[in-house]
Symmetry: C2
Subunit: 296 residues, 2 copies
C-alpha cells in the first residue's frame, strides 16, 4: 500500500471516472489504472466495479474509502505540523536564567524574539545556576543563561560566552557618594551598610567572595530580597548594593551609580545547552538572537 495508490483511489472514487481522475492527480490514465490494480491485488479484493460510464465502489472500496481519506489527511497534517515547527511559526522554548539576568538582558531580547516569532511559546524559569544546570541536564530546559564559571562540573553542557558585565555600586541619590574619588574599592565595603540579595543570586556569592578575598566579612542591613526589592531599599536609603551596571542604568531614578575601582568586578554571562542533543529549532533561533544582542 502506498500513499499514491490511496490518492489515486480516492480520486477515482470521487470522480467515478478513471480518465478524469488521472487528470486530477496529474498522471496518465494507464499509470492510474495500474496503481489501482496493484492496490486491489495487494488487498485481495476489487475496489471498483468497472462498468462503462458507471464506475462504482464495491463493498471493499466503501470500507477502504474513509480510512484512505483519513490516512491522507493525517499525512497532510504531519507535513504541516513539522513545517510549522521548522519555520518557527509554532514551537516552544524553555529558557532558564538567573534572577539578575531576567531583569537585565532578557526583557528586550524576548520582546524582539516574540515580535519576530509570535507563535513560539516562551517559558522562563528563574533559578540559581546550580538549579539551571540540573534542569538542563534533565532535559527540562532547552537553553539557560548562566554566570560563568559554572558551579557544578557541567555534565555534557556546551556554553557559549555571551557578554561580560561590570558590577557597580548603587546608592540612594540623596545620600553621599560612597567610596573615594568617584570610585569604590572593595575594601570600602568593609563595614558599609550593604543591601544584599537572597541566597541563590550569583551576585550574592560573587560579592561576598570578593569581600572575603579582601579579608573581611560584609555586613548586611537588609538581605533576602529580589532585584527590585534590593533597588527599592537602596533608593530608600537603607544602604548600598553591588549590581550589574546594566541593571543600575535601567532603574536609574532615585539612584546614584558609582563604578568600582580597578580591577573591579566582572561577571561572564553565557548560554548553556546540552551537548548531546540538538536544541529545538526555536531554541536555536533564540540562542542566535541572544548572541546577536550580546555582541551589540
Amino acid at each position: 500500500m502506498q500513499f499514491q495508490q490511496l490518492t489515486y483511489f480516492v480520486a477515482v472514487a470521487e470522480a467515478r471516472h478513471f480518465t478524469r481522475a488521472a487528470e486530477e492527480v496529474h498522471v496518465s490514465q494507464p499509470s492510474l489504472s495500474q496503481q489501482i490494480r496493484a492496490l486491489e491485488s495487494e488487498l485481495g479484493a476489487e475496489l471498483f466495479s468497472r462498468a462503462r460510464g458507471n464506475i462504482t465502489l464495491t463493498d471493499a472500496g466503501e470500507a477502504l474509502l474513509p480510512l484512505a481519506r483519513r490516512i491522507l489527511a493525517d499525512a497532510d497534517t504531519a507535513r504541516h505540523e513539522v513545517q510549522e515547527l521548522a519555520q518557527l511559526r509554532r514551537g516552544r522554548v524553555r529558557l532558564g536564567a538567573t534572577p539578575s539576568l531576567c531583569t537585565g538582558l532578557l526583557p528586550d531580547v524576548l520582546r524582539a524574539f516574540h515580535d519576530r516569532h509570535p507563535g513560539i511559546q516562551l517559558l522562563l524559569e528563574e533559578g540559581g545556576s546550580l538549579d539551571l544546570v540540573r534542569e538542563l541536564a534533565r532535559g527540562a530546559l532547552d537553553l539557560a543563561l548562566v554566570v560563568l564559571p559554572l558551579p557544578a562540573a557541567s555534565p555534557a553542557l556546551t556554553t557559549v560566552e555571551l557578554l561580560q558585565e561590570d558590577l557597580v555600586v548603587v546608592s540612594s541619590a540623596g545620600a553621599p557618594r560612597p567610596g573615594r574619588g568617584g570610585r569604590v574599592r572593595i575594601a570600602d565595603l568593609q563595614g558599609a551598610p550593604l543591601v544584599m540579595f537572597r541566597h541563590g543570586y550569583d551576585l550574592r556569592e560573587l560579592t561576598v567572595a570578593a569581600c572575603r578575598a579582601e579579608g573581611f566579612e560584609p555586613s548586611f542591613t537588609v538581605e533576602g530580597g529580589e532585584m527590585d526589592a534590593v533597588l527599592g531599599f537602596v533608593r530608600a536609603g537603607l544602604g548600598i548594593a553591588v549590581v550589574p551596571s546594566m541593571v543600575a542604568v535601567r532603574s536609574g531614578h532615585g539612584l546614584r551609580t558609582t563604578p568600582l575601582a580597578r580591577p573591579g568586578l566582572r561577571r561572564t554571562i553565557a548560554l548553556a545547552h546540552r551537548s548531546d542533543v540538538a536544541p529545538p529549532r526555536a531554541a536555536r533561533e533564540l540562542q542566535r538572537v541572544l548572541l546577536a544582542a550580546g555582541r551589540a
Copy 2:
C-alpha cells in the same frame, strides 16, 4: 512521504538506535538511514538528534510520531477490513424475494449459508417482482429471487435461471379430491371455491391469467392472505388453492395435493442482479449457493 519511511521512523523512535531498528524492520542499516534522511529532507526538518548512543526525537520528531503511528495503524485496519470482506468473514447481503419463494426455497439455503458464513448479515426484503426490480435498480438490493418473465422492461438486470416449479392444487384432506382422474384441469377451476393470495403475489397473477386464457374469471371465497394464511384457509375447508408443489409438500399436514393436468402450470424462478455493478463478494457467494441448491 511513504509508509516504509514512517515504519522506519517509528522503529528508530522506539529503539532509539538505528542499527537495532534496521534489524527489526528487516532492512540494512544504510537503507534505513537513507530513508530517514529522505523523510527528513522532504519534511524540511531533522527528526532525530543523533548523538552517539543517545538517539532522541527532536521536537519535529515528537510532533510526527503520533501521526505516524496513527497512519500506520489505519493502514493496517484498512488491510484487515478489506480482507475480512473478501474472505466472507464480514459483510452483508440484501436479498429480495417474492413472498412465495420466502417460504419455499429460502429457509434451508439461508440456513446453510449462515452456517458457512456466520459473519455475513442477511437482510431479506419480501415484495412483488415489480418492487424487487425497482429496488435492485436503485441499488437497495444486491440480489433478488424473482419469477420470470420479469414484469417490467428490466433495466440492465442480469437474470440467471434457478429452477422451475410445477404448480399444484391443494385442498383440505377432509374434502373430496378436486378434478377428475387425480388431476385438475384449469377448466375445472371454473366456479371452484378458490382461496387466493393478496395482490402482489406472482402466483395470483399467474393463476388468474391461466383462467382467463381458458375463457373464464375465477371466483374467490377468500382472498388477500399471505402463503401461510391461504394454506390455513384451505386446510379449514374454505376452498382450494394453486400453489407451488414445493410449498404443498412442505406443509402437507391436513392438506391433499393434486397435480394439474397437462400441460399444467410452471413458473421459472431466477436470480436477478444489476448488470452494471458487480454484486458484493458476499452476494456472489450467496448466488453461488442458491444456484447449487437450485440444481440439486
